[in-house]
């Protein structure tokens, strides 16, 4: 391991963990390099927290090894914990202590001297916005503030590595945005491993993501790479529901029929929208670009094209594809597609009815 560059801050190899008969982790391997902010994604029960608990030496893996800051979690848990700032899920804090007392307790255990603690406290108060609540009991604080206190204790000793387990769960949208902003700030010069099941947060805060499902890593890479992984490109198309100059308004059925006929279109799905326009999502293969053909088709049919947009498949969709695949295999066919088709048929006929009424 001495050969390994010191830039690898977290190195997990073949981590497995069994709880009785349940296999919580199954040979999980990944690396996090210095200065990276990595999103650790997965549905509930996928093994995110278990992995983090192993990395912080709270529990031991059944097999496999983990190096944090170059130190094996089995050899020297204290050295590992010194290098890490950790925020467990739901920020469990001593509710009967004041914020200040709590932070000074953590400072004591972390071995910060009085001077060092004072400057650390000032920094943490500023970064986490704790000035207002410093003297209050933690038990009286809102979830958002507790989460900030939790983040504060993780940052107190200015750690090289931050491990945050669902730091934004239970927060309202404003608080979430703030915590994400802190993490972006903090992540500029630290290594951060951040677990969540909220994908938009990952897109905001992280450049790289590791997706786990049922105890296994199912994707690991830059967000763009992960998006590209399913090999599909998404087009969003918005067509005005009023027909252009003297021509009849297109129904969704017409739209769909025409679009499916186009070579390279794999799947057509109507997106929710208001009454005035149809929004359609298409997926096409990664290699081609259908935008020109879509435009020509719209001109041919006399549709008023309001929007045409091409991007990589959304992380959301990739996440669903990757983490549901096991389930899908069990049932022999993807659930998702079935559902979608049903929905489409439903909305379809509604639209057709409406159009007929208008005509009449």
């Amino acid at each position: 391991m001495g050969l390994m560059s010191t830039d690898v801050m977290i190195h997990a190899s073949d981590l497995s963990k069994r709880f009785g008969a349940v296999r919580a982790l199954d040979k999980v391997s990944f690396e996090v390099k210095r200065g990276e902010v990595v999103g650790f994604l997965g549905p509930n029960g996928a093994g995110k927290s278990t992995t983090m608990r192993i990395l912080t030496c709270f529990i031991a893996p059944s097999s496999g090894t983990a190096l944090v800051n170059g130190v094996d979690v089995f050899d020297d848990p204290l050295a590992v914990r010194k290098a890490i700032g950790y925020l467990p899920q739901r920020a469990p804090l001593y509710t009967d202590m004041s914020v200040r007392d709590y932070l000074s307790f953590v400072g004591e255990i972390r071995g910060l001297g009085p001077d060092k603690f004072k400057s650390a406290l000032t920094r943490v108060i500023e970064v986490c916005g704790l000035a207002q609540v410093l003297q209050k009991d933690i038990g009286t604080l809102s979830h958002g503030y507790r989460q900030r206190v939790g983040l504060g204790q993780a940052l107190l000793h200015d750690p090289e590595i931050l491990i945050l387990d669902e730091p934004t769960a239970d927060l309202d949208p404003n608080e979430k945005a703030e915590v994400i902003r802190y993490i972006q700030d903090i992540g500029k010069d630290r290594t951060v491993l951040l677990s969540t099941h909220n994908l938009s947060e990952v897109e905001q805060a992280c450049a790289r993501a590791i997706i786990v499902s049922k105890g296994r890593v199912v994707a690991d890479g830059q967000l763009d790479e992960i998006r590209a992984k399913t090999g599909a490109v998404r087009y969003t198309l918005t067509v005005d529901e009023k027909g252009a100059a003297g021509r009849a308004a297109p129904s969704f059925a017409e739209l769909e029929g025409a679009l499916v006929g186009l070579t390279g279109v794999r799947k057509v799905r109507e997106l929710p929208n208001d009454e005035s326009a149809h929004r359609v999502e298409l997926s096409g293969s990664k290699d081609g670009d259908l935008r020109a053909e879509l435009f020509r088709l719209a001109v041919d049919k006399g549709w008023t094209l309001l929007e045409l947009h091409r991007d990589a498949q959304s992380l959301d969709a990739v996440f669903r594809d990757l983490t549901r695949s096991d389930e899908a295999l069990d049932r022999g066919r993807t659930l998702e597609q079935d559902d979608d088709e049903d929905e489409d048929e439903g909305t379809d006929s509604d639209d057709a009815d409406q159009d007929e009424e208008k005509k009449g």
């Binding site: 709270f58 914990r81 467990p88 469990p92 307790f105 255990i109």
Partner: protein
């Protein structure tokens, strides 16, 4: 060592952050006073300058109420609320956590025990002087009380680290300490090997020597062994989370 003291200090302070410490201290002294002066005619009935009743009531009170109440939350509450994860993932050893919590709880119990020193001081030194008190048995009595408190807090800590529930922890500790205390009285009704064993483990029998001014190494070793055994078992119970 610093870390043990930090944990102990936090634990001790947290008793005073909640009403628990005040309730425990006030009620123990109220109960002690009631027993000492009123129970079966109380102290005056004895008509001697002695502190012996004190050493009978304090351990019983400790065993019955104070220790179970003080120790019930030590580990159980940390586990239930998840704060244990926060504590353990700080750079502390598991043994630091166990010893720190033990010392924190023992601190509060010692406040109660040493608080009762006001009895001999006020009654026989200042402001009152009710008679010539032999300080030897008082001193050995307090040594015995502290050893006893140390052992019973360790028992409470062990029980607390085996469950997530404070109330279960309370009742089991209450029962175990009660059994240890009264096994001597039960042994008096029996004879033979069973009686010998019950006498051997009885905290009350062990305390008798200390009350009379006799510090027997066997009794000291007995209390210290119970303490060490329970602390090591608590440590193992805490460590078990890693492999479960």
């Amino acid at each position: 060592m610093d870390k043990i003291l930090s944990v102990a200090k936090r634990e001790f302070r947290s008793y005073f952050d909640s009403p628990l410490a005040y309730v425990v201290i006030c009620l123990s002294f109220f109960g002690l006073g009631l027993m000492f002066f009123m129970f079966r005619g109380g102290y005056w009935q004895i008509d001697r300058a002695t502190m012996q009743p004190l050493f009978e009531f304090v351990p019983a009170g400790l065993a019955m109420l104070v220790v179970p109440v003080v120790t019930m939350r030590l580990m159980a509450e940390e586990r239930r609320s998840g704060t244990l994860e926060m504590l353990i993932t700080l750079p502390v050893k598991d043994s630091d956590v166990i010893l720190g919590k033990y010392l924190g709880a023992l601190g509060l119990v010692s406040v109660v025990v040493l608080g009762s020193l006001t009895y001999p001081i006020f009654m026989f030194q200042f402001p009152w002087s009710l008679g010539p008190l032999d300080m030897g048995p008082v001193l050995s009595g307090y040594i015995g009380l502290l050893l006893y408190a140390g052992a019973s807090v360790a028992v409470g800590l062990l029980v607390s680290s085996l469950t997530d529930s404070q109330s279960i922890s309370f009742f089991i500790t209450f029962f175990v300490l009660g059994a240890f205390w009264f096994s001597g009285a039960i042994a008096d009704q029996l004879s033979g090997g069973v009686a010998a064993v019950l006498h051997y483990i009885s905290f009350q029998t062990r305390m008798n020597g200390f009350m009379r001014g006799l510090i027997d190494t066997r009794d000291v070793v007995f209390f210290l062994s119970i303490t060490v055994l329970c602390l090591v078992s608590s440590f193992r119970a805490l460590e078990r989370r890693k492999w479960a």
